[in-house]
């Protein structure tokens, strides 16, 4: 027999002003099953909680209804109290008579009546509640970081310093990401490679970090604390262990193709490392351009390799790793010039992206830092920078601001003027957004001391007229059109989500927005978490960010991982779905609607091991307790604990008696 206690809170005058609390307590006594009821001024106070605990013991209560504030406020408090008194916490429910009653109604009679109803509903529910146990999940104390840019490197280093082993998976043949291609960085103008390469070396040498380069995530199974990732190690045609990185192969390779790292401005070989400081400093063969692999000719690299590390029959390999947590730091890509037909659509070599410009001025770039324009190698005497190209243009490209362009354009004007002291540089801008430490000062310096001329207006078109590039823009401050003849145009094109990110997100089961950026669990309070427990985000995978922000987030995600993996087991609420295998017919409805892929088919076999039938089976580790499965089940064979049909129906039924 149910023995229910009802505890009605005054919440000072918050409830008592509009609800006759004593009457609610009094009437509650008449609800079948209620053996005790009481009202008290502050039920959440220590004496209030004592009242609940004592009553549970004294009256041997099997269920408790606390009529007070929203369960969002104190459900945890009271359930803990119940537990302390020896009652299963899930046998306690709250009737929300403050937020959803006393605070929103004026009339005492109505408030009281409604409170009685709410109590009755909860009494009926709690009578049918079942004790639930929290679920304890073991944890694999290992983490995976996807993306080996500066963000991923930072995350891997921080996790490893906490004593947790890390697998760092990088899509390219070297870690380093976009930052390794930059020249100098704002607002301090320190050399990008000078600050990044030590970090790359550190992560490579860390005993707890395993770098898997030129690899991608093939599949992810499991759930928080217990992921199993399948990693595709793409065919590299070079035995990384045998290779010493001596460089003979790429020196001898006869094939020259455009270098991706040099943004198409320089050349690389068909067997190559993307840049001299690459880590691991092991080459890979580009199968599309290698003569041996495409035409079965040449084979020089194999001949010259002193350690016999070249294998033309190399295949993609798969490896499985078990990890407890994952950091996704997949970064970004920038839009190519060809995306903008009104700016020439890529037909003019002297219209370049800002990343190309970085390579053009970088001392390790294809011209070794001699600034030459791509078409004819001429020193550009006049350069125009155009901001917001593809950003802030919801009609054609992206609605968002790419955030870092304002700063790097200011930096690039300086880099330019440092190379060409007599040169003119113009910046077409709409707004200058320089909110960061020393950022505004940096932009002012570009304009006041370094000779950048800022023009407020967007550019309508860019075309070639004879030898000149012509930029047709506006100066909205003087209300006029401006045509600038120049030698080189640098477009600050938008940062975009990288290719394949949606597929990756789907494999990982995490959300992404309409732009392809990954979605955080809460934009303010859970900025590096995803809605999927155990998977964290950092850096430009979320949206455009600069280096300081990305590095901070790498550390933040690492802290989350360390927190999660500091325990041996994880506890989670017992509110999960359970299948009645006797009545389940295996129609797969629940499997299809489950947002978490937490349900799968299970074979039921007879003693001879012959398959009899198939039923649904819930993995409680993956189930988050949304209950979408329940209404999809025609035979009611899957039920969400804590919100079972009989419990909810009891609430509806409780209202019938009114």
């Amino acid at each position: 027999m149910a023995r229910i206690g009802v505890f009605v809170c005054w919440c000072g005058s918050n409830i008592a002003e509009t609800v006759e609390v004593s009457k609610v307590a009094e009437v509650s006594k008449s609800i079948p099953g209620v053996v005790y009821s009481v009202d008290y001024k502050y039920m959440c106070s220590d004496p209030g909680q004592e009242l609940v605990k004592n009553a549970i013991k004294e009256y041997k209560l099997t269920g408790v209804v606390v009529a007070s504030c929203s369960p969002r406020m104190h459900e945890k408090t009271f359930r803990k109290a119940a537990l302390e008194a020896g009652l299963n916490p899930y046998m306690l429910e709250m009737a929300n008579i403050r937020e959803q009653c006393s605070w929103v109604h004026n009339n005492m009679d109505e408030g009281t009546q409604k409170s009685i109803d709410l109590v009755r509903m909860m009494v009926e529910k709690v009578k049918r509640n079942k004790p639930l146990d929290d679920i304890s999940i073991p944890v694999t104390k290992k983490a995976m970081v996807i993306g080996g840019g500066v963000t991923g490197i930072q995350a891997a280093l921080d996790i490893a310093s906490g004593g947790i082993p890390v697998v760092l998976v990088e899509k390219e043949s070297s870690i380093g990401g976009k930052m390794s291609a930059l020249d100098e960085t704002f607002p301090t103008l320190d050399c990008s490679q000078c600050i990044l390469t030590p970090k790359m070396v550190e992560v490579a040498q860390h005993p707890l970090v395993q770098i898997i380069s030129y690899a991608e995530i093939e599949k992810l199974e499991g759930f928080v604390g217990n992921f199993k990732a399948t990693i595709r190690k793409k065919a590299r045609y070079v035995d990384v262990d045998a290779c010493t990185g001596c460089g003979t192969c790429w020196q001898k390779c006869p094939v020259k193709v455009d270098s991706e790292f040099e943004q198409g401005l320089g050349k690389r070989k068909a067997i190559f490392i993307p840049f001299p400081q690459a880590i691991p400093s092991r080459p890979r063969i580009d199968a599309e351009n290698c003569l041996k692999l495409t035409k079965d000719r040449c084979g020089i690299c194999e001949k010259v390799c002193p350690t016999k590390a070249i294998h033309y029959d190399d295949k993609d390999e798969f490896m499985e790793v078990e990890v407890g947590a994952i950091v996704v730091a997949t970064g970004y890509k920038i839009m190519p010039v060809s995306a903008f037909p009104e700016y020439g659509g890529g037909q003019y070599p002297d219209v370049v992206t800002s990343l190309q410009f970085e390579r053009m001025v970088c001392a390790s770039g294809p011209t070794l830092g001699d600034l030459k324009r791509p078409s004819d190698g001429k020193l550009p005497e006049t350069v125009v920078f155009v901001k917001c190209v593809g950003s802030r243009d919801p009609e054609h490209y992206h609605s968002y601001c790419s955030k870092i362009c304002c700063m790097y354009v200011a930096k690039q004007t300086m880099l330019y003027r440092h190379k060409v002291h007599h040169g003119n540089c113009y910046v077409f801008y709409i707004d200058v957004r320089s909110n960061g430490k020393n950022y505004e000062e940096f932009v002012r310096r570009a304009q006041e001391q370094e000779g950048a001329q800022y023009i407020r207006g967007r550019v309508s078109s860019i075309y070639k007229d004879g030898d000149d590039m012509v930029v047709e823009g506006a100066d909205t401050l003087t209300n006029s059109q401006i045509k600038v003849k120049c030698d080189l145009v640098v477009l600050a094109t938008a940062m975009e989500a990288p290719d394949g990110i949606k597929q990756l997100a789907q494999k990982l089961g995490i959300g992404y927005d309409q732009h392809g950026f990954l979605t955080e669990a809460h934009p303010k309070l859970r900025p590096v978490e995803t809605a999927t427990a155990g998977i964290f985000l950092a850096g430009c995978a979320l949206s455009p960010r600069d280096i300081p922000d990305s590095v901070s987030e790498g550390s933040a995600a690492a802290a989350k991982v360390l927190g999660l993996l500091s325990k041996d087991t994880l506890d989670k609420e017992g509110v999960v779905a359970i299948v009645n295998e006797l009545t389940c017919v295996g129609c797969q409805n629940c499997i299809r609607v489950c947002p978490y892929n937490a349900i799968e088919l299970k074979d039921i076999c007879n003693r001879q091991g012959e398959l009899q039938r198939q039923v649904a089976h819930v993995n409680p580790g993956l189930c988050t307790g949304c209950g979408t499965c329940t209404p999809s089940c025609p035979s009611r064979s899957i039920e969400l604990q804590g919100f079972r049909d009989t419990e909810l129906y009891a609430e509806i039924n409780a209202l019938a008696e009114l």
Binding site: V459, E472, S480, I482
Partner: protein, 194 residues
């Protein structure tokens, strides 16, 4: 210039009115100036296209209706096509021009005479008849000899004929009359509503 915004001024009222007339919401404009940058007629304008939109945002109806700009827009649509915010600048110009016509504001360009001439020609013939139209335009604009030099040349190349062609003129006239009546009726209703 001083823009006074008193308590009685509702900045949004004009934007809303424009939206009703043209279907475009000028409040979306964030003044990047791309329209101005690409406008082939900007050098003839007293107020640049982006500024027209700005004045509309500020509710300065008189300023825009009395500008040269709205009469010099040639509807090439470069602005609207490139606008990052999807503001139909050309449509706004067109709408402003209709508002100015409705209020009998003196046009700042001869183009209005061309429009009038054109309307009469359609009324008469149902299809365009260039010599008549240019002639009528010249009469209205007071520029009697405009383009007359091209006449013999065009005649020689048989690019214009002296004989107008008529088509469905009765129907066209009926449609025009009905549209005119409708306009008057609506104006009256609006008046009464006030």
């Amino acid at each position: 210039m001083l823009i006074k915004i008193g308590r009685e001024v509702n900045l949004l009222a004009f934007s809303k009115k424009l939206e009703k007339e043209t279907g475009t919401d000028v409040r979306k404009c964030y003044q990047c100036g791309k329209c101005t940058a690409g406008c082939p007629m900007n050098f003839e304008m007293d107020v640049s296209p982006s500024q027209v939109i700005r004045f509309c945002q500020l509710g300065m109806e008189e300023k825009v209706l009395n500008s040269r700009t709205i009469w010099y827009c040639i509807f090439c649509d470069t602005c609207s096509t490139r606008c990052p915010q999807g503001v139909d600048i050309k449509g706004v110009m067109d709408g402003l021009r209709r508002m100015a016509v409705a209020r009998n504001i003196k046009p700042k360009s001869n183009v209005r005479f061309l429009e009038k001439a054109f309307q009469s020609i359609i009324y008469l013939f149902g299809r365009v008849y260039e010599p008549g139209m240019v002639g009528m335009y010249n009469l209205r604009s007071g520029n009697f000899l405009h383009d007359v030099g091209y006449f013999p040349l065009m005649l020689r190349k048989r690019k214009i004929s002296l004989k107008p062609h008529f088509k469905r003129t009765r129907e066209v006239r009926q449609v025009m009359k009905r549209a005119q009546k409708m306009k008057l009726r609506k104006a009256k209703e609006l008046e009464e509503a006030k």
